[in-house]
């Protein structure tokens, strides 16, 4: 296969191909400048920034209360996580206490959001592999159910603005918990259906097995995190290694890649993570305590103490960090995002070089990059 292509003596002229920024498979606006030798990629230069919306600059110019509403756009597929990272940083600087019910609600909505993000990844990944508008109907159907649940508590399908500094915004009704239970009860069957269609499909196996092998040392050198590095067999999940929130009280496993860290392993990691998240949702629902939902009053002139702090959480794409420097006023002095997609995308050239051009989208899809998360 491709390895044979590498060793042939056939010489071709070098060709430079521009891929993007408008390309159906780049999940937005990534531009890749590829230098090709026949079919083989010799050099890759990712050009990012086509969606640079100045989120960090906005953080300096908006009050904290206003900025809370904006940060869902940093990573729109996992808005709960971006809100949570920001809220964590501000809470740790401020030292305010978060009520246990708010902690459990946060974990609950975050795990739901992890599932919805992975479902969208599953659909688009299969589109990248060539299952154009056939398979994606299935994961999107479940995603709609999750989005309806989010809409009921947060008010919108994607831009939640639900997790706030000090707690959460709204206490859901008991009927909402029942709906979540209904979803979690049937979701494992749905994952079985996806797996029946995809996991052992010979075409998918040909496209993914042994493709885009991410070496452990390379991954660590580039600071890759999330399912991408867990596919390579490194057990690094912030929920276990640096537990935050109520994760120490919950019981779950970290799925790891079984082979050498190829595209199929990363696919499998995410599938198994969805099952784990489903368990976590059930646990949160069982242990959900009663009580307050916010430890800080949500007013327009929301202030935190002066100080600086870096908080990181495990988002569906990896370590999502937020570095806040506060000077005690209602605006932050500097907000810096550490986005998992930005760091994971940096490893893309080393994965692509030496591969045929048809593998680009399979590899790019498997590291699950969201472009606003790259560009802010």
């Amino acid at each position: 296969m491709s390895t044979n292509l590498e060793t042939t003596n056939l010489k071709t002229d070098e060709m430079i191909i521009n891929m993007g920024p408008q390309h159906p498979a780049t999940h937005g606006v990534l531009r890749l400048i590829l230098k090709l030798d026949g079919e083989i990629v010799r050099h890759v230069e990712p050009v990012i920034g086509h969606l640079h919306r100045a989120q960090e600059w906005q953080g300096q110019n908006r009050t904290l209360f206003q900025y809370q509403a904006l940060i869902d756009r940093v990573d729109y597929l996992s808005g709960m996580f971006t809100s949570l990272a920001f809220a964590h940083a501000c809470e740790q600087i401020d030292g305010c206490q978060i009520p246990p019910r708010a902690q459990y609600l946060r974990a609950l909505v975050c795990e739901m959001n992890r599932i919805s993000s992975h479902l969208l990844w599953l659909g688009t990944f299969l589109i990248d592999l060539g299952a154009l508008f056939g398979f994606p109907f299935y994961p999107f159907r479940e995603r709609e159910k999750l989005l309806d649940l989010f809409e009921e508590i947060a008010g919108q399908r994607m831009m939640f603005n639900y997790i706030r500094i000090g707690g959460v915004q709204r206490d859901p009704k008991p009927s909402w918990f029942e709906k979540v239970r209904k979803f979690t009860a049937e979701f494992p069957d749905r994952i079985d259906e996806y797996e029946a269609i995809v996991t052992q499909n010979p075409i998918v196996l040909k496209r993914t097995k042994g493709v885009g092998i991410l070496d452990k040392s390379v991954a660590m050198d580039y600071g890759v995190t999330g399912p991408s590095i867990r596919g390579s067999g490194i057990n690094y999940d912030l929920r276990k290694t640096r537990p935050y929130g109520i994760y120490p009280e919950l019981n779950f496993e970290i799925p790891l890649g079984q082979n050498q860290g190829d595209t199929w392993d990363r696919y499998m990691c995410r599938i198994l993570e969805m099952r784990q998240s489903n368990n976590l949702i059930n646990q949160c629902l069982d242990k959900m305590p009663e009580g307050e939902i916010s430890g800080k009053k949500q007013i327009a002139g929301l202030r935190i103490k002066a100080g600086e702090g870096f908080s990181a959480i495990e988002s569906p794409r990896g370590v999502l960090g937020c570095y806040v420097i506060s000077n005690g006023s209602d605006k932050a002095y500097r907000i810096r995002w550490r986005n998992p997609s930005f760091c994971n995308l940096a490893v893309l050239p080393s994965l692509l070089i030496g591969r045929p051009i048809s593998d680009i989208m399979a590899i790019f899809g498997s590291i699950d990059v969201i472009l606003p998360d790259v560009d802010r």
Partner: protein, 231 residues
Amino acid sequence: MSNLLTRAKDSIYQVLRGLKTVAVHSLRIPTTKEYPDTMPPLPPHFRGRLALNVNPETNEHLCISCRQCERVCPDKCIEITAHKSPETNKLELIDFKIDHGLCMFCGLCTEVCPTDCIINTNDFEMADYSREALVYDIRKLTLTQGESSHYFAAKEIALPKPKPAKPVASAPIAPSIAKPVETKTEAKPVETKTEAKPAETKTETKPAETKTEAKPAETDTDTKSTDNESK
């Protein structure tokens, strides 16, 4: 060779397994929501188009021109025009504009509103052919009494207390239900006589000119307005 055969067998089995799953799906209930025929069941806290409430009981405008929503809005998409009435020394609303093309539907304005006047409705069909049409003024924004009472019930907001009586020498203490309508000026009976406006455009009786010469209204305007509602 046998290896190849077992692999082929396995592959065919896996493909058929997938096809079976797909085939079973065709027997299930369709998930498509027939949108233009049936409206989606939206939750009460859905953040759709912004609107201004009136008091569901007395039909008085709830906005007190405190400008908190204007200040908290991250997009600065709200513009309030108000003036201080020289007689009562209170702020009176002249115009309230929201640019829905600029709004990001974050719901912060509804959170800070002290009188629960500005709310997010369940309406999302706002597409229009020009950008200017997306700027809604107070006439387009204000809800009718029926809609307001619907949203007050759906969002489980406590019903507002009627505004305290204005310091009027002739009527020092009046029943609180009858009083609020006094903000409706005497221009109102004139309008109702001439055009017999429908109930939903009732708030048109609060434009700038009429507000400036606001005088404590008599009880007969009160009865007139209730007549208007019954029509």
